[in-house]
Amino acid sequence: EAGVVQSPRYKIIEKKQPVAFWCNPISGHNTLYWYLQNLGQGPELLIRYENEEAVDDSQLPKDRFSAERLKGVDSTLKIQPAELGDSAVYLCASSLRQGDHHNEQFFGPGTRLTVL
C-alpha cells in the first residue's frame, strides 16, 4: 500500500501563474482533506470532502483557490493566479468515516510550492 499519494512533490512557479496539485487517497477512504502548512506552522484545513461532496470549504480562499473530487476518489486543488504568499506545503490526507466516527487521518508527503 503506497499510502496517500501526492504529485508533484515540488513546484516552482512565477506569481500570477496557475498551479494544480493532485492527491490520490488510500483505497476505500471516503473522506479527503486538503491542508495548507506555512513555514513554522501546523497544518490548517482548506477543504474537506466526504465522497465527492465538499462538506467544509470555509477556509478555502475561493477567489483564487478551487478543488474538485469528481468521482469521490482522487482530488485536485488549483490556485489561479498564484501569489507570493501562497508559497507553502500543501498536504492531502484521507480517512474512513464510519457513521459519526472519524478514524485516523493519513497524510501524504505534501507538495512544496514556491512562488517567485
Binding site: V4, Q41, G42, L45, E50, V55, D56, H102, G108, G110
Partner: protein, 111 residues
Amino acid sequence: AQRVTQPEKLLSVFKGAPVELKCNYSYSGSPELFWYVQYSRQRLQLLLRHISRESIKGFTADLNKGETSFHLKKPFAQEEDSAMYYCALAQTDNQGGKLIFGQGTELSVKP
C-alpha cells in the same frame, strides 16, 4: 474560539533525559486530542490519541480537562525521537473530525 497552543518551538534534551512537550487547548465542546509526529524526510503520522490511552514508542499523554492540557511525555528520550511534534484537536461537534493543529515543537535529542 478553538485553538491549540504549543508554547515551545524547540525543545532540546540529552539522550536518556525525560521529555515533556506541552500542549494546551481551547474548545467549548468535548475534545478529542491527538499527537502527530513528523520525522525528518517523512510524512506526518499519528503518534497517539487520548481515547486510546496507550503508550506508543514510550510516549504517553494524559488529557487534563481542568487544565485544558494534553502534554506528551517520555521518561527517557532517545536520539530517534528527534522530530517535529504537533498536537491536534478534533472538533467533534458536527465538524466531521476537523483537526486543528498547534504550531509544532521540534524535539532535538542530543547524544
